[in-house]
């Protein structure tokens, strides 16, 4: 089907859906456009395959709301590193990357079972801390000398590597008893996790209970269990985690 097969009003309506999504970041059932998008496959196809694909984004539905999410890879709507630092309130790129790594570990812990069901309804900050530490220790202490040599040689080409993330994280104390407000610090692992959790909370992905337990929201579920597994996304993600290092411009 080419664009000329669409009726003018369909294109206009699809465009309204698109602008609404991009303007507010979501589309909920209170909006008339929600039904249009949900119920009319032609319009949905226009929105998804033409407009959203054009800015490399997707709309992921969780319960009765569509959320706009940037697709893996470059999207004009993805935050720049500077913006991401500001949103995370990180002071430098290292902290930012460690933050991203914590998020990755969080979803690894939460979604361990197949498809739609997450095995854990929540993850405690403690368990997440142990998991991140465990994973990063393996990076910091390469299994064999050959690997170590490889890290050494390739490492120089890139500005930031996993090793930096590991070094930064492992240098931090696990917990700082003296802090009155753990959320204000980057200086220990627990504060770090809480800050990342708050960042995700602001994005509507997580709920933190008692500054201790992290509960995924429907939005997080939707992205990880519906959006990520789609074959094309899966492929892109895999390409990203395997290869992007070569062309990084961090």
């Amino acid at each position: 089907m080419t664009l000329s097969d669409y009726h003018r009003s369909e294109v206009e309506e699809a465009f309204s859906v698109f602008t609404e999504l991009v303007r507010r970041g979501e589309l909920d059932s209170a909006s008339e456009l929600y039904r249009t998008y949900r119920d009319d496959p032609e319009i949905a196809r226009l929105v998804d395959d033409v407009f959203l694909a054009g800015i490399n984004c997707a709309a992921v539905r969780a319960e009765e709301t569509y959320h706009l999410v940037p697709a893996p890879g470059d999207s004009p709507l993805a935050m720049s590193n500077a913006e991401l630092r500001a949103a995370l309130k990180a002071r430098n790129n290292t902290e930012m990357y460690v933050g991203m790594f914590v998020i990755l570990c969080l979803i690894s812990l939460l979604y361990t079972d197949e498809g739609s069901v997450s095995k854990s309804t929540y993850v405690s900050a403690k368990r997440l801390e142990e998991y991140v530490t465990d994973r990063l220790k393996r990076v910091a202490e390469p299994v064999d000398a050959e690997m170590a040599a490889e890290i050494e040689s390739v490492g120089e080409e890139c500005e930031y590597q996993l090793g930096d993330i590991a070094a930064h994280w492992l240098d931090l104390p696990v917990y700082d008893e003296s802090l009155q407000q753990p959320l204000r610090s980057w200086g220990n692992r627990f504060s770090f996790i809480l800050r990342v959790a708050r960042f995700l909370e602001e994005g509507g992905f997580l709920r933190t209970v008692e500054e201790r337990d992290l509960y995924p929201t429907g939005k997080l579920n939707a992205v990880v269990t519906q959006y990520y597994p789609q074959p094309e996304n899966r492929e892109r993600l895999l390409d990203l985690v395997r290869d992007l290092g070569r062309e990084t411009d961090a």
């Binding site: 893996p72 979803i107 490492g155 996993l162 997080l220 290869d243």
Partner: protein, 496 residues
């Protein structure tokens, strides 16, 4: 209880050992009922029952009993359930009133027959219906219809107590169906996978046609009640019995209206759920043959298997979990507007246009502004390092000619100064230790700017207090600001 006797008696039968005759008997009654519910009444004769029994026996025992056995079974069951053509007659003790009471009834009657073709069709009698009604041994899908039928009979017979009771059952059934539909809908929403195939089937069996037929039945019932009521209202000298009946009829009418309204909702909801189901199924199919997705296997492990590569990969893996940057200025329709030079709308002098010459893109402008703010902040920090108190005027004087002009002309310097003034100072130590509240003021991410400005500093300047001075400075861009006084803060507490 007596109604059950013919069925229970089947249990004692020695014929057809190995078959559960009670179940088969009940099934036969249900089969006849089912045919009655199809409108217009589908014929249900010996041949139909025989086929039904053969199917049922095969399902029960896993092997086909054969035409002959099924025929014998049909003959036997109908014989027993119709008591060889005689009415059943039992006498039972009535504990309420004492003594014994005789009851006679039949369960199955002939609905229609054709002598020439030697063919008859059966129907359930009122007692047969009541038996089914009492057992509640009927598929959910048919319940509403059965209750309606039962209600109709009660009405026709003029037993309004029974009618009210039937209405209650009807109402409960409609409500529980609404509830199940709600539940079903919720589960579809939540995850299509949690809905079992039997459930799909059950929901689909209860098709729209059934619901619509039930709706029509409600209309008939309403008409029936109305005519009944009318006829009683016209009685000139009503007896007490008539009045009571009239009262009951009104109640029944009210209740029936209520049930029928709820039933209409059922129909509407049902259509909604159908649409939802189709859409979700489509979505599920689109997802393809997804097996499983474990972020640990698919993202984390591949990432960690190449520790040498850049950290940017980590970001790629979670990109979709970072909220998109929603540009406030993003309005595609603006592409239709006439292009205007950035800043030209500000009615500023030509000098401003020189400063921002070529900065057509807002992004570039923003980055430049950020860079300038970082310069201003390091200028402030350099002066602060000297240890003494200084004013805004001194700050400006300490700058090279070009920089001073920029400060005076661009709005961002003015904004930054206003921000510092409003905040009452700059908690440099706090910011560098990450303890600051990180309160962004509008477009100015001050803590971030400060940390960038101080990147090259060997020693950290002290935190500053900023207070209004005693004179007003005016900038060449038309802004006025107090000649701010910057002083080193004595303790952190001053700022908090």
């Amino acid at each position: 209880m007596y109604l059950f006797r013919p069925l229970l008696d089947l249990e004692r039968s020695q014929t057809f050992a190995g078959y559960d005759l009670v179940s088969l008997g009940l099934a036969t009654l249900l089969f006849i009922l089912e045919n009655m519910l199809q409108s217009p009444g589908k014929p249900c004769g010996h041949a139909e029952i025989r086929r039904f029994l053969r199917r049922t026996m095969r399902d029960m025992h896993g092997e086909d009993p054969g035409e002959e056995t099924a025929g014998e079974m049909e003959e036997y069951l109908l014989e027993r359930l119709r008591n060889g053509g005689r009415r059943f007659s039992y006498s039972y003790a009535d504990p309420g009133e004492g003594g014994a009471e005789d009851v006679t009834f039949e369960l199955i009657a002939v609905d229609d027959y054709e002598h020439e073709g030697r063919w008859v069709s059966f129907k359930l009698t009122e007692h047969g219906l009541e038996l089914i009604f009492r057992t509640r041994e009927m598929s959910r899908e048919l319940r509403v219809g059965i209750y309606q039928l039962y209600l109709r009979q009660q009405l026709e017979r003029g037993t309004f107590d029974g009618a009210l009771e039937a209405l209650e059952a009807l109402q409960m059934e409609v409500r529980s169906q609404l509830e199940r539909l709600d539940n079903f809908e919720y589960r579809i929403y939540h995850s299509l996978r949690s809905v079992r195939p039997e459930e799909f089937r059950r929901q689909y069996e209860r098709t729209r046609e059934v619901l619509e037929a039930e709706q029509r039945q409600f209309q008939h019932l309403k008409a029936l009640i109305e005519s009944e009521r009318r006829s009683r209202e016209n009685i000139t000298a009503p007896t007490e019995v008539d009045l009571r009946a009239l009262y009951q009829l009104k109640m029944i009418e009210q209740e029936l209206n209520r049930v029928s309204n709820e039933h209409s909702r059922l129909l509407a909801r049902r259509m909604g759920v159908d649409n939802l189901l189709l859409r979700e199924l489509r979505a599920e199919v689109q997802k393809g043959f997804r097996v499983r997705f474990r972020p640990e296997d698919e993202l984390l492990d591949p990432l960690l298997s190449r520790p040498d590569a850049g950290a940017e990969r980590v970001r790629g893996a979670v990109e979709s979990l970072l909220h998109p940057r929603l540009p406030t200025y993003f309005n595609p329709l603006k592409s239709m507007h006439r292009q205007v030079l950035w800043g030209a709308a500000e009615e500023e002098s030509e000098e401003i246009e020189e400063v921002i010459d070529g900065e057509l893109e807002e992004e570039a402008g923003r980055l430049n502004s950020e860079r300038r703010c970082i310069r201003y902040l390091s200028a402030v920090a350099r002066l602060a390092l000297r240890g003494s108190t200084f004013t805004l005027r001194e700050l400006l004087r300490a700058q090279p000619e070009d920089e001073r002009l920029t400060m005076s002309r661009c709005r961002d310097f003015f904004q930054l100064m206003m921000h510092l003034h409003q905040e009452g100072g700059l908690d440099i130590e706090g910011i560098m230790r990450g303890r600051d509240a990180w309160l962004d003021s509008g477009d100015l991410p001050v803590p971030y700017l400060v940390s960038r400005a101080l990147e090259d500093f060997q020693t950290l300047p002290p935190s500053l207090k900023v207070a209004a001075g005693d004179e007003i400075l005016s900038f060449s861009n038309g802004n006025y600001i107090s000649n701010l006084v910057f002083a080193a803060a004595e303790g952190e507490d001053d700022l908090e």
